[in-house]
């Protein structure tokens, strides 16, 4: 797998009963209490709502030192948080795209500024 290559889509979960889309597979749908979900591909592009650099990480990420975390508004309306790759002074409001996550942390969404 190429490290941090742009993705065309992200996989999300859609309630069969009410079509609500969530980032991760829930036990029940918070909107209709349905229990059946299908996977759905959503756009991997969006805009960076805000970001920070975590310099005092919790134990689980202690070995990483510091890292950027961003909140992204995807073009389909979903808002998700994830890691952020950037080297500009302040990318707030810029376009971002999801990229392939790290092999060691495949569940953490990673975005980079386009």
């Amino acid at each position: 797998m190429t490290a941090h290559a742009p993705l065309a889509t992200l996989t999300a979960y859609q309630c069969v009963g009410c079509q609500t889309i969530t980032q991760r597979s829930p036990m029940v749908c918070a909107r209709c209490l349905g229990r059946q979900f299908s996977t759905v591909e959503v756009t991997a592009t969006g805009r960076l709502a805000s970001w920070t650099t975590v310099r005092k990480p919790p134990l689980r990420f202690k070995n990483e030192g510091s890292y950027h975390v961003g909140v992204v508004d995807l073009d389909n309306g979903m808002r998700i948080s994830g890691r952020l790759l950037h080297d500009s002074a302040d990318p707030t409001g810029e376009r971002v795209v999801a990229v392939t996550p790290s092999d060691t942390a495949p569940d953490i969404p990673v975005f980079k500024v386009t």
């Binding site: 805000s50 650099t53 310099r55 005092k56 134990l59 202690k62 975390v69 909140v71 707030t92």
Partner: protein, 388 residues
């Protein structure tokens, strides 16, 4: 018909470093002060509510409510530990008020307690992250300083709030802390000192963050007919008690510059009390980080939306301002022993309304407290008033 609820007694340890004192001993210290001051016999105390967040992961101790009650000679009554992250103390106070208001109990002891300073920064950050949805935001490595770093950037972008505006909150609250003997770290800080402190979660710097703290606070609430033996003549009534919830996921907050739980709790509190924001003389609000005070003051309706930073910079939230915010020093200076904070805010407001505070708000008769947990997942707002 709900009964009126009064605060009959208060107690508190100093917030700060008590690494050699067991957590339950701090709680017993504050609880005994409140019981004695209330003048209410212990056999009239109908229940104990204890606010605490992380005694399990940081102290290896649970069942704190029963443990503390036993050491206070309160046996056989319902003893309940309440957890709502940083709002644990406020929630404990609210439940005690409800027990009295509904007539289930005539008097209830509320205690809030936490010890944190014995833990390493990594262990503490990990424990505090229990207040996050770790299947979502926690997975990305977000922390609470990080959350408020995100909020800061959003507020700056939407409203033009500057580093200097936000530093004004730090300088004000640290100065207030110097006048409060219960406070952990008051200081006379300059803008340059604030701006030179270490970066924690950009743009949040060290002085923008409340310190980890040990401490306990306690109050006794009761029905009016129990007040006869109270040592204080000033009657302090709970005029409103509101509790709300919001999303535990930052990604479910459509606007990072507001906590919906605070807005809703404030609206409920104003409705319950029949008061308006302009009636509030002082507020002890949840300034876990400097930017939080700005957001909270706007969410509570005390400052116009987007103006929190400028009001702080202009001195309009200081001791002589339009609304006095955190005369205790707030979490930034008084400290934030998580489970104790919400109860400590009640103690601070009661002292102000009795005219007994060391940093007094002139002619204060109505005070508000605001206690916020996690990413706004839990919130309480209380309004207290001095009865004529």
């Amino acid at each position: 018909m709900m009964r009126q609820v009064f605060v009959a007694g208060t107690g508190s340890t100093r917030f700060g470093k008590h690494p050699q004192t067991p957590i339950e001993a701090l709680a017993v210290d504050a609880g005994a002060q409140a019981l004695v001051q209330s003048g209410i016999a212990r056999d009239r105390i109908g229940a104990v509510y204890l606010g605490n967040f992380i005694s399990g992961p940081l102290n290896g101790k649970e069942v704190l409510a029963g443990l503390v009650a036993e050491q206070l000679g309160l046996s056989g009554i319902p003893c309940t530990k309440v957890e709502g992250a940083c709002a644990s103390g406020g929630i404990a106070f609210r439940h005690a008020c409800l027990m009295v208001a509904t007539g289930v109990c005539d008097a209830v002891l509320v205690v809030g307690v936490e010890t944190m300073t014995h833990a390493s920064t990594t262990d503490m950050t990990t424990a505090l992250n229990c207040a996050m949805d770790n299947e979502y935001d926690g997975m990305s490595g977000l922390t609470f300083p990080g959350l408020f770093g995100l909020a800061w950037r959003s507020h700056a972008r939407q409203y033009g709030t500057t580093r200097e505006d936000i530093a004004a909150v730090v300088i004000k609250n640290k100065a207030h802390g110097l006048k409060n003997p219960l406070a952990q770290m008051g200081a006379d800080l300059s803008l340059d000192q604030v701006c030179a402190s270490a970066m924690i979660a950009d743009p949040l710097q060290l002085f923008d963050c409340c310190p980890p703290s040990d401490g306990a606070a306690a109050v006794v609430v009761c029905a009016k007919d129990m007040l006869g033996d109270a040592q204080h003549q000033a009657l302090i009534r709970v005029m409103a008690s509101a509790q709300t919830s919001g999303s535990a996921r930052v990604s479910q907050h459509p606007d990072l510059c507001t906590f919906e739980a605070t807005v809703a709790a404030a609206q409920q509190a104003y409705q319950q009390s029949g008061l308006k924001p302009s009636n509030i003389d002082l507020v002890e609000l949840h300034d876990c980080f400097s930017i939080a005070e700005i957001i909270d003051s706007e969410d509570l309706g005390l400052v116009p939306r987007g103006e929190g930073g400028r009001w702080a910079a202009q001195g309009r939230t200081g001791m002589q301002g339009d609304i006095v915010i955190n005369p205790s020093g707030g979490l930034l200076a008084k400290g934030h022993p998580v489970g104790a904070t919400g109860v400590g805010q009640i103690v601070e407001v009661v002292l102000q309304l009795r005219g007994e505070h060391s940093n007094p708000v002139k002619d204060a008769s109505i005070g508000m407290t605001h206690n916020l947990g996690g990413t706004g997942v839990a919130c309480t707002v209380h309004i207290l008033g001095r009865e004529a």
